[in-house]
Structure formats: structure tokens, C-alpha cells
């Protein structure tokens, strides 16, 4: 990562609409989505190819779920930064995701303010309020 406005992102989600929304939010925030994957297996291949700074990872997907994919990616890239994005609010699911190596956890529906907060947490950037103020226009547009 060169600076906090130029983060390379890999978006992993089997939902077309979630990939589309996440891509648009990151683009508006000034970041670069380098790839989109729809399964855990594809995510691993695309991670090797693009080496993104951050992965946004859905959990429930066909083929291989997000937790398994993160565990495998961590095996060869222990410092990878992963934001889990899932509709599941079960405590056990959160614990599994953290144990697998996720650094942040967003409960769907995903909003711009949740993404800004997670990126801030991952990179220890400015405090959330300051960051939110900086991105106020985008957050206003994208918050549900």
C-alpha cells in the first residue's frame, strides 16, 4: 500500500449485487479493485495473481467458503489483511473468522461507513470520526 488513498482490493462474494456495491464504494473512496472472485478457490488464485493489500471476503459461498479460503491464503501470506463481510451475526461465526485470520468483520448490509471504519482499523489510519468527515459526501451517498 502506497498511501491510504491507494489501497488494492480483492473482492470475494458470490453475490453479483454485493460485488458491484463493494466495488463502487471502494472506487468512490479512491481505492483500486484489482479483482473480483465468486468462490473461495477463485479467491486464492486471484490473490496469488494480484497480491492485493486487502481482501473483502464473504463467508457463505459455493465450492469453498470464505473461512477456509482465508486459512489457505494465510498459509502462504500470513500478513494478508482480510475484512470478512457476511450476513451471519452468529458469535461462533465471528470467532471462526477471527481465528482464521480476519482482521475486521462487517455484518451485511454493507455500507460505506462500515467500510471506512474497517479500512481505518486495518491500517491504523485516522480516527473513525475524522475519516468519516473526510469522506462525508461519499458516506452520505452510500449509507442506507
Amino acid at each position: 500500500m502506497n498511501n491510504d488513498t491507494n489501497i488494492k482490493i480483492l473482492v470475494v462474494d458470490d453475490s453479483l449485487i454485493m460485488r458491484r456495491n463493494i466495488r463502487k464504494i471502494f472506487k468512490e473512496l479512491g481505492h483500486i479493485v484489482v479483482g473480483e472472485a465468486t468462490t473461495g478457490k477463485d479467491a486464492i488464485e486471484m490473490y496469488k495473481e494480484h497480491r492485493p493489500d486487502v481482501i473483502t471476503m464473504d463467508i457463505t459461498m459455493p465450492d469453498m467458503n470464505g473461512i477456509e479460503a482465508v486459512e489457505l491464503i494465510k498459509d502462504f501470506s500470513p500478513d494478508v489483511k482480510v475484512i470478512m463481510m457476511t450476513a451471519h451475526g452468529q458469535e461462533d461465526m465471528v470467532i471462526q473468522a477471527i481465528k482464521a485470520g480476519a482482521k475486521a468483520y462487517i455484518l451485511k448490509p454493507v455500507t460505506a461507513i462500515k467500510i471506512v471504519s474497517s479500512i481505518d482499523k486495518l491500517f491504523n489510519l485516522k480516527n473513525v470520526e475524522e475519516k468519516t468527515e473526510e469522506y462525508k459526501d461519499i458516506v452520505d451517498d452510500f449509507s442506507m
Binding site: S15, A87, H88, G89, Q90, L107, P109
Partner: protein, 162 residues
Amino acid sequence: MSYKNCEDTLLSPLIERAKSFFIEDIGIDVVEEKNEKCQNEILFFYHTSIIALSGGIVGYFLMSYEKLILEKTADSFVYGGVDEDEKEEIIESLADEVTNIILGNVLGSFTINGVDTNTTPPIQVTGISEILIFSKKETISLNINTSYGKVLLAFSADEMIF
């Protein structure tokens, strides 16, 4: 678990989350709601998303949507709006995602005797007036009537759950 317990424990959280999603997240008024125990036959609306459940509860959860409510939901949910040439694809994906969010957000209520309930990705059924029969399953359903059309929620599981 009795029907009443099932209604309180499982269906109520789904109903409340569905209502809060449409009212608070999307800005659609909920006019009325009606739930009933049905005879394993469900009349679908235009778009239906079905999620299979395993673990604590074995069964199915589905939500079926009239087209207008999905189009209205897309206005709030889809960032940057929807172009006409991508509308149908987006609407189908939206039905799956809303169903997934509503069930997933309350899945903690589906932990039975310490066993979590797991879900599959949604399966999409498009087309009106289909009737689904879950054999050897009991089904309870709920119609939510909104200012932009109806949404059906149905939960189907082994008879012993009820």
C-alpha cells in the same frame, strides 16, 4: 417445539428483521402482515430465493417477492442506480441478497440445544404462480404487504420442530 414456540423463537425474529429492513434500511412502509400454518403449498410471487438449513434446524427458508418491491428496493440498495440493460440481473441478485441478509442477521435465534444452524447460498426461482411442496415438512408462512407490493416469508422444517 410447539407451533407457538416455533412462531415466537424462529418466525418472530425473521418477521421483525424483514420489517426493519424494509422500513428502516429501504424506506418502504409495511401496511399489514398475516401469518399462517400452511399445507406445504406455497404460491410464489415473481422472484423467490430459497435457502437450505442444516445443523440445529434442518429445513428451508424462502422469501418470495412481487417485482415492484424489488425494483423499489434496488433504488435504495444498489449504489449508483441500475441501468436498464442490467436491471433483470440485478433484481435477481437483489432477491437473493435480501433473503440472505434477513435470515443471516437473525441466525443466532436458530441455535438449537447449542447447535448452530448453517445455511447454503440462496437458490433462485423466477416465475409467478409456482407451487412448492416440501414433502415431510411443516411450513409456516407470512405475507408482508407493503406500499410497493407483497413479500412472502416461509419457513419449512421437520414436523418435530413445530
